[in-house]
């Protein structure tokens, strides 16, 4: 039998199937434990910080709620501090909430977090997703203005613009065929969602070049914000990512301990959501009247 330290550590605290990569665990909560043999190379301060996170001792069932609550706290802080952007945040958040209904598509196959009232197991849905979606929608929309200090401008619809109204509306609908096509080709709703976000952002860059800076900068800002909060999750609940995300699904690849799919989601959602409200608002703006 192999007696190397690597093999020995791989067995500690995880599914015995983790020792053999060809064997898959029988329970979604028993994903293979990551190797922990590199502890001698981890700085002392990082170990102390990790220990503090572990001492928070959030019950596993409340980690998803706590993490969503963290997003919501940031949302509340922004809502209080930036009074001028309240309609923007409010509408962007409300528009994001229905996406929480898509959670049953992701559970088990993409991830399977222990949830409030054990709903993920009993009804194959959860409540935390709605809080999460509500919070990230408003934050993604307002991030660009908060960081750059530039005010939001809702452009009026000029008379020459009326000719392009149909194309403009089509640009708003572009995510739907992109979503459907990728879903049919891959069977993965995650990649279909990413395709929808990217298609929507590209269509906006074509229809509304004046929103290009906000789209790109806002996307990168939300990517940074989301990555930061993923690191906070690893700190407040060590091992949670390995537990909740299914390594046999789309979230198989991890970078710096974070699922690559989550990083992609942060970037693509940020790109799409950062300028979406202006795009919609222009559609419903009153057209300028021609002089008599």
């Amino acid at each position: 039998m192999l007696r190397s330290p690597i093999r020995r550590h791989a067995w500690v605290g995880g599914d015995p199937a983790a020792a053999d990569p060809s064997v898959r665990p029988s329970d979604p909560h028993l994903a293979p434990t990551p190797r922990t043999c590199a502890r001698n190379r981890v700085p002392v301060w990082a170990l102390k910080l990790a220990l503090r996170g572990a001492l928070l001792m959030i019950p596993i069932r409340y980690v998803w709620l706590s993490w969503s609550g963290l997003f919501f706290l940031v949302w509340i802080a922004l809502m209080i501090r930036y009074r001028a952007y309240r309609p923007l945040m409010w509408w962007s958040s409300v528009l994001t909430v229905p996406f929480g209904l898509s959670e049953p598509f992701f559970l088990l196959h993409y991830w399977h977090p222990p949830s409030l009232f054990n709903l993920t197991h009993t009804v194959h849905a959860d409540l935390e997703t709605f809080l999460f979606c509500f919070s990230i929608g408003g934050t993604a929309a307002v991030g660009y203005h908060v960081v750059t200090g530039r005010p939001m401008v809702i452009r009026r619809r000029a008379i020459p613009d009326e000719r392009f109204l149909a194309w403009y509306s089509a640009g708003l609908l572009v995510p739907l065929p992109a979503f459907g096509a990728i879903l049919l080709l891959t069977g993965e709703i995650f990649w279909a969602g990413i395709a929808g976000f990217v298609a929507g952002a590209v269509a906006r860059l074509i229809c509304r070049p004046d929103l290009a800076v906000k789209t790109l900068v806002g996307g990168l800002l939300f990517f940074g914000y989301y990555t930061l909060l993923l690191f906070v999750l690893t700190w407040m609940a060590p091992g949670y990512i390995e537990l909740a995300w299914n390594v046999h699904g789309p979230a198989a690849i991890h970078w710096f301990g974070l699922p690559l799919t989550e990083l992609l989601f942060g970037l693509c959602f940020g790109l799409y959501w950062s300028g979406l409200f202006e795009q919609l608002a222009w559609l419903f703006a009153s057209p300028e009247r021609s002089p008599r």
Partner: protein, 58 residues
């Protein structure tokens, strides 16, 4: 090129067709649910057509 969730390979035991497991007939609930989600989003966006819903912004 094989098209479909399994890409021509035997389906992954983790794979789950949406509201129908890979070894059972697909009941169509996932497709119906997606349409309901899109309809709800459509209604929310359509609400912007009413001036009070714009919260006095424009």
């Amino acid at each position: 090129m094989a098209i479909g969730p399994s890409g021509g390979r035997p389906p992954d035991p983790w794979h789950r067709r949406y509201w129908g497991y890979y070894n059972q007939p697909y009941p169509g609930c996932g497709c119906l649910w997606t349409i309901i989600i899109i309809l709800i989003i459509w209604w929310i966006i359509a609400a912007l057509a009413y001036p009070p819903a714009r919260l006095g912004w424009w």
